[in-house]
Symmetry: C2
Subunit: 176 residues, 2 copies
């Protein structure tokens, strides 16, 4: 899902500045399955404006750059819905952690333990974040997405807690 489409999606819910869109990503739970940096959001908004899919209104501010508030246009809504009617790109999951676990036997035992600790802490943190935003979910979709995220994270944590011993165990060379 490209930054263009993500911006349209957010703007279909609320008008916002580029900066605010970025914040919605990070804070409102979107960041579990999409992401974008400001360096890609600003150019995307510029292009969407050119194409008439969003409109922009400048709000002057004292001692700050003008806020540029973007609003989705009817054409923008149509384009957004159209993009969701097309076949969706596949999910992509890249996990350096899982990759590293494949080679646990090459690593010192405490490095493996440390990786597990870090990863568990990280998932814990994500799960906590998810549960925090779950409360203020607005739409059916948000409930569904946070629920599914929670299901997945919980299962992963369960697995890690019960199976970390397997990978932390010393390699026992078969006695001859």
């Amino acid at each position: 899902m490209d930054v263009r489409t993500i911006c349209l999606g957010i703007l279909s819910r609320t008008q916002a500045t580029g900066y605010e869109i970025k914040k919605l990503f990070d804070e409102d739970g979107y960041d579990h399955f999409v992401e974008a940096s400001l360096g890609s959001i600003y150019p995307a908004l510029g292009k969407l404006t050119e194409e008439g899919l969003v409109s922009m209104r400048e709000e002057a501010q004292e001692k700050r750059p003008d806020r540029k508030v973007y609003t989705i246009t009817p054409a923008g809504r149509r384009a957004f819905v159209a993009s969701l009617l097309k076949p969706l790109p596949e999910d992509r999951y890249r996990s350096p952690f899982m990759f590293a676990m494949l080679f646990a036997d090459l690593l010192p035992k405490d490095r493996v333990s440390q990786m597990l600790d870090d990863y568990i802490a990280h998932i814990d943190h994500k799960l906590a974040h998810l549960e925090r935003v779950e409360g203020n979910a607005q739409s059916k979709g948000e409930h569904f997405a946070t629920g599914m995220g929670r299901a997945a994270f919980t299962a992963i944590l369960d697995f890690l807690h019960t199976h970390r011993v397997d990978i932390e165990a010393e390699d026992v060379k078969a006695a001859e």
Copy 2:
């Protein structure tokens, strides 16, 4: 995790040609959390050879291009382990499906059902693949990785089956 490191990892287990490395990705369960195309593998192998991290031996073949079999060097092994001792990059999960679910209320009901059907079929397929490779897992790490993948996919499928009704339900406008 960049293609370089992934190639080194695979070559730490077995020598292989670029073509074979690609196949190992797709067939041996690696593709659930790492991926790379031939267009990135060949240049990566060339560079690793230059740097002395892998060595290359050409095997002439009749009526086919020479096979170039790559073997990791001691320096390559050291570099690979060193890369796993450094802090790992974060996992990244990009899900156009989850993103689309956030906007289910904007879509026709049967498009949502179709997305769910497609996605469930897709996860089913991945899970079956994982269970197929789980049998011939060689190392502790492979067992761990396939086990964790299975745990996550199973939880997601469970969730989808029990909660799809929530998102497929008609939006009932509150009676006034």
